[in-house]
Every structure is written in C-alpha cells, then in structure tokens.
Amino acid sequence: MSAPLTGELAQIGKSVVIKGDLSGSEDLYVDGQVEGSISLKTNSLTVGPNGQVKASVEAKGVVVQGKLEGNVAASDRVELRKSAVVTGDISTQRISIEEGAYLKGKIDIQGKAEAKTAQK
C-alpha cells in the first residue's frame, strides 16, 4: 500500500541535483539527488528508484525505493520498498518494510499524539 497522495505532486527528475532546504505543501517525488532537509508536514515524500537523498525528512508519509541518508519523522507512515537503502533513525506511527530493504538505524513507533507533537 502506498502513502496516500493528496493530489498535487512535485517531481525532481533523476538528472536534478538540489542542495538546500526543501519545504512545501504538496507531495514530492524525488528521483534525483537532494542534500539538506525536506519538510512536507502534511504531505508525502517518495524517493524514487534513482533517488539519492541526504537529508533530514519531515513528512506525513515517506516511501523509499532508492537511497535515503538522514533521520525521518513521519506523522503517518513509512514504507521501505525492496530496493530501499536507508541509513538513519525513523520515527513514525506505522512502518512497512519489504523483503530486501536495507535499514540501518533506530525505529521509533509513536502513537498518534506523540507523532503530532514530534512534527511541531
């Protein structure tokens, strides 16, 4: 099951490299490289199969198919697909991990109230 998309979707293609802080109020699909931080408090981030993200991430939902290095705080759910390589601590309400996904870090499953507090 994928994190629900909210309608609008911004895409960063695989040839794009961004260094800095990203924030927004629409879903984001990253298939390129991002270094810095990503803040999408009420929306979802998807790291595509070619995506390489080195950033702290705050989002409602996070789906990883590529590489993600950094701590993840998701108020709803995190999905690690089989090709995911994630290094960093994950804090979320729900997590799903496909066989083959690689994760190095702490997993903190929070209740709804805790997750909302962490997002503030």
Binding site: S96, I97, Y102, K104, D108
Partner: protein, 202 residues
C-alpha cells in the same frame, strides 16, 4: 571461518551462484525452527519494560513489529551486508585479501557504551569475515549493558561453503522463521570487482 573471497562466495550463492541457487522459490522459501535461547530472551522482553534491542540481522519487519509492539526500542543494523562494502577490502602484510576492521568499526556499531539490553546476533559470526569477528565482538561487548544478553547461533560442525545464510524473523515466543538471504545484486557486483578488478571488467 574462511577467506574474504570464500565468505563472499557464500553470500553470492544466495543470489547469483547459478540457476539452482538463484531460483526465486528457493530464495523465498521459509523454514521454521524452535530456539530455547530465544525462549529465554522472550521471558525478559515480555516482562521488562523499555528495553533497548539491537538486531544485527537482515532488516526484518516482523522483528521491528515484535519489539515496538511491546514498547521496546529497536535498532536495526545489517552487519553482513555492511561488510560487503568494497571500500573495506585491503591487503595484509602477506598480501592476503582482508577486510579493514578499523574502517568497518568507524562506520558501523557506533553507539554509546552500555547502550543495549539485548543484542540479536543470530549466526553472524559464522558468516562474517574472520578479520572482522574479533573486533565486532569486542565492540558488541562495549555497547551492551552489564547483564545484557546476546543471542547467537553457531553451526555445530563445519557446514561447508554451500551453507545458506538466513534472515531470522521472530514469529513466536520460541519460534523463528528463517528465510534465505538474497544479497543485493549491486553489492555482489561491487564487491566482486573490489576483490578481483580484472574479472569484473569482462
């Protein structure tokens, strides 16, 4: 324990050792086994609160669910996969291919001293390269709390180079589900080229 090359070949058999070893059916095959050691640890995590657990096996969603549902903190660190990092390959004074244990410990198992109550080591020492076993055990000793517990399995006799490597899922208080590990294709290619650069170019 064997040479670096032999150890990697063990892993490759799980993913690219030939049509038989590589069959999806074999890779997805799951076996169950009972473990009295697991049962012993289960009594601890079922009765104590807010334990800090380190799982050194392949990332396992059932294990994460198992511990987080009981209010424990779980850390996942797949050391076997981490040991296939090609940058670790070096040569000793005799020219033998070995893994750089200092570099390995600079990148892995970086935790405060006396941090973990329980470490799930599974059968990692039987599959980890010999040059890493002693340093890793030393680091585990330092990151475990006094009185902490470590679960490890060892082959009772030499299982031979074809012995498959498994990921372990906790499915009951003393029951494990074992699934053959399929190493990532890119990892096998990278480490092959690090061990023998000439063969990788063909």
């Amino acid at each position: 324990m064997a040479s670096v090359t032999q150890n990697f070949m063990k892993l490759f058999r799980g993913s690219s050792g030939g049509p038989e070893a590589n069959s999806p059916a074999q890779a997805s095959q799951k076996l169950t086994r009972r473990s009295s050691g697991l049962g012993e640890l289960a009594r601890t995590w079922d009765t104590e609160k807010s334990l800090c657990v380190l799982d050194l096996g392949s990332t396992s969603a059932p294990n994460i669910r198992h511990f987080t549902a009981r209010g424990h903190r779980i850390y996942s660190e797949d050391l076997l996969t981490a040991s296939t990092e090609p940058g670790l390959v070096t040569k000793d004074e005799q020219g033998n291919v070995v893994l750089d244990s200092r570099k390995f410990l600079a990148d892995n198992l970086m935790y405060p001293a006396a941090h973990f109550d329980i470490v799930l080591c599974w059968n990692l020492p039987d599959y980890l390269d010999e040059s890493l076993v002693r340093p890793v055990v030393g680091r585990l000793w330092s990151v475990m709390k006094p009185g902490g517990m470590l679960l490890a399995f060892f082959h009772t006799r030499d299982a031979g180079p074809d012995s498959p490597c498994y990921r372990f899922h906790i499915v009951g208080s003393d029951t494990l589900e074992m699934q053959r590990i399929v190493l990532r294709k890119e990892a096998t290619l990278r480490i092959s080229s690090a061990i023998s650069p000439q063969s990788s170019s063909s």
